[in-house]
Symmetry: C2
Subunit: 358 residues, 2 copies
């Protein structure tokens, strides 16, 4: 049924019931008043700091209902915010959802969207406590605000990287951008073998249903291993760039150490040099991988790599005047032009291969 037939208040009532039925069952004691009043009332973290973040996803910019159902969109919206909270060393706890909906949208779509958010919420301990639902002329707009908590001496900023620190990452880079390119038909792969199909599914699922690195972030934060941390939602290049800017340092990135999934490698392998450039572009500038990029003191790097699964060392922090440079296998500097996805400035179709100077 269209939301225009259901009406705002019935829709909110439906959402409220769904949230109560499908939210996490633990931690409810912190919610004094959830959906249904002017504002939500919750217990603040005890002897901890409050971490807050907000992310907006716009139809046609961040998601497209042609290739992702609303449940996936909701799940990903939640993951994107959770990733920001854990990248600060925090634990997410409460969420507020603002929805802008065109009048002809189905109330079932809204329920699916909430189902996705609640699924991620149950998995990662987030309780939805409030929100706002309004009409929007054309596109669906989802604004999600998450509150979390962090121990005072466990906060990890972007600004703590020191010269000599190693740059580590979790997981693989580039899959999400590759998946998006495949979904949008910008990357056409001729080979139709079942293995290629499996690889395509793997990278597109990384785009549609990313997972936040909650466990890894928790170990890093609890043991105070990182001097700086950021989530890789804007691509490796910008993530390292933001750390360098905030910490007033430079970085060397060893390109051959940037972890690439076997699926992405396999999909790109038939195209040789062009395929390698494609991988690089997706990994450095693609974004939405929701991996962690963090720096650790040199002497701790080995221990971190051994004890935290899915981590790899991709570079080191150098003095600011050296800038951010990329090195190939033989330690030769590679100049790459291009940049990560920046709203307003670049269109989502910017995937031209970066220039390279040997």
């Amino acid at each position: 049924m269209k939301v225009s037939r259901v009406g705002e208040f019935k829709l909110i009532e439906k959402i409220r019931r769904k949230v109560e039925r499908r939210g996490p069952t633990s931690g409810m004691e912190g919610i004094i008043a959830g959906i249904g009043d002017d504002a939500a009332v919750v217990a603040p973290p005890h002897e901890k700091l409050l971490v807050v973040t907000t992310d907006t996803m716009v139809e046609g910019v961040h998601f497209d209902t042609e290739y992702a159902g609303f449940e996936k969109i909701g799940y990903k919206a939640m993951v994107s915010c959770i990733s920001d909270i854990i990248a600060m060393g925090g634990n997410p706890s409460y969420g507020l959802v603002s929805l802008g909906l065109p009048r002809n949208r189905l109330s079932e779509d809204v329920e699916d969207l909430y189902e996705g958010m609640l699924k991620a919420g149950r998995k990662f301990g987030v309780r939805i406590v409030g929100g706002d639902t309004v009409s929007s002329p054309k596109s669906c707009v989802i604004s999600l605000t998450l509150l979390g908590e962090v121990g005072e001496n466990r906060v990890i900023y972007r600004s703590g990287a020191k010269v000599g620190d190693r740059i580590l990452v979790t997981g693989n880079f580039g899959d999400s951008a590759a998946g998006l390119a495949i979904l949008k038909g910008r990357w056409r792969i001729r080979n139709q073998s079942s293995y290629v199909k499996r690889c395509k599914i793997k990278v597109t699922m990384k785009h549609l249903l990313p997972e936040p690195r909650v466990k890894e972030a928790e170990i890093i934060s609890r043991n105070r291993l990182a001097t700086a941390m950021i989530d890789s939602s804007d691509g490796l290049d910008l993530s390292v760039g933001f750390i360098c800017q905030a910490s007033r340092v430079g970085a060397r990135i060893w390109l051959d150490k940037v972890p690439i999934s076997p699926s992405l490698k396999y999909l790109a392998s038939p195209s040789g040099e062009e395929g390698a450039m494609r991988i690089l572009t997706y990994a450095l500038y693609g974004g939405e991988d929701y991996e962690l990029v963090f720096t650790v003191p040199r002497e701790k790097a080995d221990r971190v790599l051994r004890h935290i699964p899915h981590t790899a060392m991709v570079g080191e922090i150098v003095p600011a005047r050296w800038g951010v440079v990329y090195l190939d296998k033989r330690n030769r500097e590679i100049k790459i032009k291009g940049r990560g996805y920046e709203h307003f400035k670049t269109s989502p179709d910017f995937w031209s291969p970066p220039e390279r100077e040997g």
Copy 2:
């Protein structure tokens, strides 16, 4: 300069500097990390509860840049959220701003929008600590999340109204809707006298630059005067309806006691009966007045009316089975069909005069 030429990150940097320069100067010690990291880190309220609310304003639905500059839009967005926090008995403290902007918007517009939010922030003690800025295909979308604090025994829900309680309100009702109708050309007033012009300005300013009832809410909360409270952003009828629904009670509203501004009365007076119906429609169903609607035990009502400026008594709480009824001067029941602005279901042009049965 268009935001597409400035780019996301330069825009965020501009915003960050503006917020630091123009935010409130007191209370900064609570902000551990503001704009510029994955998430903001703030000190939680000490021995108090956390109040959180979010409001989304969409261009073409909630505002129109044809008759309101971005500074006014920003100011009103902030007021709308502050009103939700104070209606719970809380004090607003931190804000997060999510902006969806079409690429052709000017970065000056964004600065104006922030100027408006910061102006309201300085006035009412809200510090902007974070946000998100993304592109949006067509309309400008503003999502604002506010955090506030409230003493554990000072929270005022919608659900505490008891039979016999008096229903009180602050300020006047209907001006905002009247102002919108005038701005949109739906209410054409022929008389062009300078006094009529002044009246028109007064009601349109109530629509464009409403003020939250911070002082009044503070007195009510501090002295625990109200059994239930709500802000009148959806009109008096829905506000009373929400209190009745949550408290499982009914209400009688004395229509001649609903406070109407002299300006609105003057503007409507030449149209006689139709004018009176217009006033009633705006007051009951208009919304966006951002006044407080609250219930107090009968024996406290006089004291409240005497000590809190701008308050009026408009009705009383009755058993649920009596429903919500409107009474005229001679205590005769008046049946009014119609309802407040509901997203999706009603168009903003629903102002048909309500039916009346003597």
